[in-house]
C-alpha cells in the first residue's frame, strides 16, 4: 500500500511546495497570483495531513477529515477573495496591491 516510499519524502515534498508558495506570496504583486500562492500553501498542508494519517495512524481517519475541511475552507476563501478582487477592480481598475492604497475612510 505504501509502496516503499518513506514518510519523509512526502513531508519534504510538502515542505518544498509550502516554501515555494511563501516565495510567491512575498514576491507577487497581483492579487490573483497571491491567491494562487495561498492555494499552493494550503495544498501542501493537505499532503502533510494525509501522509501522517496514512503512515502513522492508519487505523484512524482524523487527517482525512481535516483535509476535507481544509478543502472546504479553501473553496469558500477563494470565493470570497475573488468577490473582493472583482470589487477592487471595479473601484480602482487595477488589482496590483501597490496601487490599491486608499481605504474608504
Amino acid at each position: 500500500m505504501n509502496s516503499g516510499i518513506p514518510l519523509e519524502l512526502y513531508l519534504i515534498l510538502a515542505t518544498i511546495m509550502f516554501f515555494i508558495g511563501v516565495y510567491g506570496f512575498l514576491t507577487r504583486r497581483n492579487l490573483i497570483t497571491i491567491l494562487m500562492s495561498v492555494e499552493l500553501i494550503l495544498n501542501s498542508v493537505n499532503i502533510n495531513f494525509l501522509a501522517f494519517n496514512r503512515y502513522l495512524f492508519p487505523g484512524k481517519l482524523d487527517g482525512h477529515f481535516f483535509s476535507l475541511f481544509i478543502i472546504a475552507v479553501a473553496a469558500s476563501e477563494a470565493a470570497v477573495a475573488i468577490a473582493i478582487i472583482i470589487n477592487i477592480y471595479r473601484r480602482f481598475s487595477t488589482i496590483n496591491v501597490e496601487d490599491v492604497n486608499e481605504m474608504k475612510y
Binding site: M1, V22, T27, I32, M36, G59, F65, A79
Partner: protein, 175 residues
Amino acid sequence: MFAIFALVIVVFSVFTVTSRKILRAAVSLLMVLIATAGLYFLLNYQFLAAVQLTLYAGGIVVLIIFSILLTSQISHKFEAVEWKKSIFSALAAIAGAIVVITTILNHTFSADTAAASEVNMDVIGKSLLGTGRDGYVLPFEVISLLLVAAMIAAIVIAKKGSPQIEEKVKINDSE
C-alpha cells in the same frame, strides 16, 4: 510513480510563482493540483482524491481563471520582480525550508501499530455524521454554515455597487 508526481508538483509550483503570464500561472496551478490528487490516489485515499479533482481542479481553478479573464489582459506580461526583493524572499523561503527539512530528517517517526482501516464511502459517511467518539458531525455542521456564510458574503460583496457607494460617486461627480 511518486517521483513523477513529485517532479510535476515541484516544477509546476515554481512555474506558478514565477511565470510572468498570469494565465500560464493558473494552468501550472491546475497541474500542481492534479498531481496532488495523484498523490492522494497513491496514499489510497480515493475519496479525497476525487474531492480534490472536482473541488480544487474543477472549481477553484475555474473560478481563478474566470476572475483573470475579468480583471486582466491575457497578453499582459508582469514586469520582472525587483531582484532585491526576489533574492530576499528566496533567502527567507530557503532558510525556512532548510530548518523544516532538517527537523524532519532528525526526527524518528513511530508508526501506530493498529491495522489499516479501509476508507470507503460507508466509513466516511458514518464518521462524518457520527456523534460518537470518532464522529465529525459538529465540524461538518460548522463547515456547512461557513459555506453558506461565504456564499452570501461573495454575493453581497460582488453585487453591483451598493446604493451608498453610488450616492457617494454621484456627490463626487457633482462636485
